[in-house]
């Protein structure tokens, strides 16, 4: 006599430096069925920072229009991704000295600790968007659910995500301008991680690096929780720019050559290989040395990864001051997973392996629709997965008179 849950709809929008993607899905029995997907070049964003509000507004509007057309459904609620340098993560702690005689922690104590952590004000001019749970610590030992356990000092901590006030307001008003409500924000790197990692991997420890066009967002999981996250305003466009400067070619040509020949590693065999720009023997075709391309791109790529590694170490240092933490295979059994458009670079995983010294792979999102099984869609697919977990309880249709009758007479 299991009554079928009525469907609810989830729409997610991932605004990146290079392109904006949106996905609408219908939730049936806790699973998302894709209804529509649209993507479009983003205008007005450089290195993850909005420089032209009007242009960005226009491109997001078009994405939403496309989405509504293909999914044949008006979008009313969206989840919006947040990434880029204006997003900052920080650890906040709440402490509760257990009042009970026997030191048993009650739900109330736990809630009190949580409240005191969440009460902490964000820095001036910033808005707290998310509190991501971290393991609770009871008398210096990490515990899962502290309620009912015995101890003296309960410490609850969250990874708090804050964003500049103007940026938040702008995103909300952009959605509201299209008569859409923002249901919640989702951290882009967390979303990407949801799409490409398993719970087991998060439990053991894994680092997900989402290298987009303008920004690189990373997140580190340990014991199933977000340990820290961060963002650097460097991405695939920097590789394009480096190539255009090094080879003295236009940005478009550089982008084309990057997609075809750039690599995360510089190999000796590339050095004397000559490649053609177009290869169709047309007038104006140019010849380039493949070695130059791989050299320029690998230097930049490995540098981006080493920036991430450095940032992680800085964060860990702050968190475990006094203890030496090594970023090795023991700490990250699942290694490093690369996502985002720039993860498609040849030898990307090998480059990460070199920089981090742990296993690395390129993450492909797990999704029914095969066209979205590419690393650059990890963000939008992951947002859907994250939104599913967050989705509101399924709205049941109000029981009408006929339903009551039907229940009464069981027909």
């Amino acid at each position: 006599m299991n009554k079928k849950n009525l469907p609810s709809f989830i729409t997610v929008i991932d605004i990146g430096t290079h392109k904006t993607t949106a996905l609408t899905a219908q939730v049936i029995d806790g699973r998302a069925r894709m209804l529509g997907f649209s993507e479009r070049r983003t205008d007005g964003v450089v290195k993850g920072t909005v420089i032209d509000v009007e242009k960005l507004h226009a491109s997001v509007h078009e994405v939403v229009n496309d989405l509504e057309r293909v999914s044949q459904r008006a979008v009313d609620h969206v989840y919006i991704s947040i990434s880029g340098p204006s997003v900052e993560g920080e650890r906040v702690k709440g402490i509760c000295i257990v009042p009970a005689h026997d030191g048993r922690i009650t739900k109330l104590d736990y809630q009190q600790a949580i409240d005191s952590a969440k009460r902490l004000e964000p820095p001036a001019g910033r808005i707290t968007l998310l509190h991501m749970r971290q393991p609770s610590i009871l008398d210096n030992k990490p515990v899962g659910n502290p309620v009912g356990q015995q101890g003296r000092r309960l410490e609850v901590s969250f990874w708090r995500i804050t964003m500049e006030e103007g940026n938040v307001r702008f995103r909300v008003s952009m959605a509201n301008g299209m008569s859409i409500n923002v249901r919640d924000f989702i951290l882009a790197s967390h979303a990407a991680a949801c799409a490409v990692t398993t719970d087991t991997e998060k439990q053991g420890g894994v680092c997900v690096i989402d290298i987009g066009a303008g920004t690189t967002d990373w997140v580190l999981y340990f014991k199933g929780h977000i340990l820290c996250s961060g963002s650097i305003a460097v991405g695939g466009e920097h590789i394009t720019n480096d190539l255009s400067i090094a080879l003295r070619i236009s940005r478009e040509t550089a982008e084309d050559l990057k997609l075809r020949f750039a690599s995360g590693l510089h190999r000796d065999q590339d050095v004397n290989q000559t490649i053609w720009k177009d290869g169709d023997k047309s007038v104006g075709d140019q010849q380039f040395n493949r070695g130059t391309i791989t050299q320029v791109s690998s230097l930049r790529y490995q540098e981006i990864l080493s920036f991430v590694r450095k940032d992680i170490l800085v964060q860990l240092e702050q968190m475990f001051s006094g203890h030496e933490v090594k970023l090795d295979q023991n700490f990250l059994p699942a290694g490093v997973i690369l996502t985002g458009g720039s993860a498609n670079l040849a030898d990307a995983a090998e480059a990460a392996q070199n920089v981090f010294g742990v296993t690395a792979r390129v993450g492909i999102p797990k999704f029914d629709n095969s066209s979205l099984q590419k690393s650059e869609y990890a963000g939008v697919v992951g947002m859907m997965i994250a939104a599913l977990e967050d989705a509101p309880p399924v709205v049941r249709r109000q029981k009408g008179f006929m339903d009551i009758l039907r229940d009464l007479f069981r027909f």
Binding site: P85, S244, V296, R300
Partner: protein, 376 residues
């Protein structure tokens, strides 16, 4: 053969003096060399060349300690003597290293004295390495703007790019000798204009038509080739040289001067072919001066030097009233492609992001001074 010097090569400041004294022995006799600095110890080490100590009361024979004002004051204090030095030369080549006190502070006043003395001024300036710090970089950039207005031609040699030109494991001195070679090569090319007996002679006065007005955006390039087809190799090298792509440089010019110097085997056809390659790359629709010169000692080597300038681009007409603020005739009329826009490319108008004191929008290979495998 008359050897009255008609070109004056001036080295200003520590870096400029060093460079000039290194290349001085390889120059033809039409070039007179003079070293100018406040620091007596530097002038003493460069033996055998004419040295000119300035600003003695200001620094008591010491350096300028990186102070712009001291460098500038030193030049201004000795103005009459300097004016005498410059008088009578049709071309003054000023070599200086920007970033310090003497070069950055003194270059622009010195160039303006030479201008007043009636000479055509061609300046070579080096920009400090990125890792020499923000202050020196800023001083250099500011000085560059001032110097540009006071010189008929300004060639910027960027030390960062310099390091990229030589092999990764090459010594520092090799990197610097590359710059020396460029400047020496250009001077030899210019000198041969003033030396009679060329295969294709150039009227020295015609050089003035190339470097017509102070403040012109300048193109300068230099390439060397050897073996068969040496002239073509040299011309290609000149096209690809990072000198022609440095900050302040332009890639298309109206007037072009190409000097091809080669050994006995070089024919006029070779020279013309080289010039056509250069013209295809750099333009020169208005005038192209071709000079060709045979030097038996070069063997099968060919050197190609390219010098060109566009007329200063007139500023777009603004609505400023006559006599109103901002109509200073000395103000720069051409906005030089800044060092920043060359190195940051599409990110040149975006906020700077620094990590460990370095601007990370600048390509990694430039910041790490990695030599790229040849781009051709």
């Amino acid at each position: 053969m008359s050897t009255t010097p008609s070109i004056l090569l001036v080295g200003l400041g520590g870096a400029g003096c060093g460079m000039v004294s290194r290349i001085a022995p390889h120059l033809p006799p039409v070039v007179r060399v003079s070293l100018i600095d406040t620091d007596a110890s530097i002038l003493n080490t460069t033996e055998g060349q004419e040295a000119f100590q300035i600003g003695r009361p200001l620094t008591r024979g010491m350096g300028t300690a990186g102070e712009l004002a001291v460098g500038q004051a030193a030049v201004e204090a000795d103005e009459p003597a300097l004016r005498r030095l410059f008088t009578g030369y049709s071309l003054v080549v000023l070599v200086t290293g920007l970033g310090g006190g003497m070069g950055s502070g003194g270059a622009a006043p010195l160039a303006s004295i030479a201008l007043d003395a009636g000479a055509t001024v061609l300046s070579f300036a080096t920009i400090p390495f990125s890792h020499e710090g923000e202050r020196r970089k800023r001083q250099a950039t500011e000085a560059l703007e001032k110097l540009a207005v006071k010189s008929h031609g300004l060639v910027v040699v960027e030390n960062d790019l310099l390091a990229l030109q030589v092999a990764a494991d090459a010594s520092l001195s090799a990197a610097f000798s590359a710059a020396d070679e460029w400047i020496a090569g250009s001077l030899r090319a210019l000198a041969s204009v003033f030396t009679p007996g060329a295969l294709v002679p150039v009227d020295p006065a015609a050089l003035k038509t190339i470097l017509e007005k102070p403040g012109s955006p300048t193109l300068f390039s230099y390439g060397v080739g050897e073996g068969s087809g040496a002239a073509l190799i040299a011309a290609k090298a000149a096209c690809d040289s990072s000198l022609a792509h440095g900050p302040g440089a332009i890639t298309k010019v109206g007037s072009l001067f190409v000097q091809v110097t080669g050994g006995l085997n070089m024919s006029a056809t070779d020279a013309f072919e080289a010039v056509s390659i250069i013209r295809k790359k750099f333009g020169g629709e208005k005038t192209t001066l071709l000079g060709a010169c045979i030097k038996p000692e070069l063997g099968d080597r060919v050197e190609v030097a390219v010098l060109g300038a566009s007329l200063p681009v007139p500023k777009p007409a603004t609505k400023t009233k006559k006599g109103a603020k901002g109509t200073d005739p000395n103000q720069p009329v051409f906005v030089f492609a800044t060092e920043e826009s060359i190195r940051r490319g599409i990110f040149s108008n975006t906020p700077l992001i620094f990590r460990d004191g370095a601007d990370i929008d600048v390509p990694t290979y430039i910041r790490k001074s990695v030599r790229l495998t040849s781009a051709s």
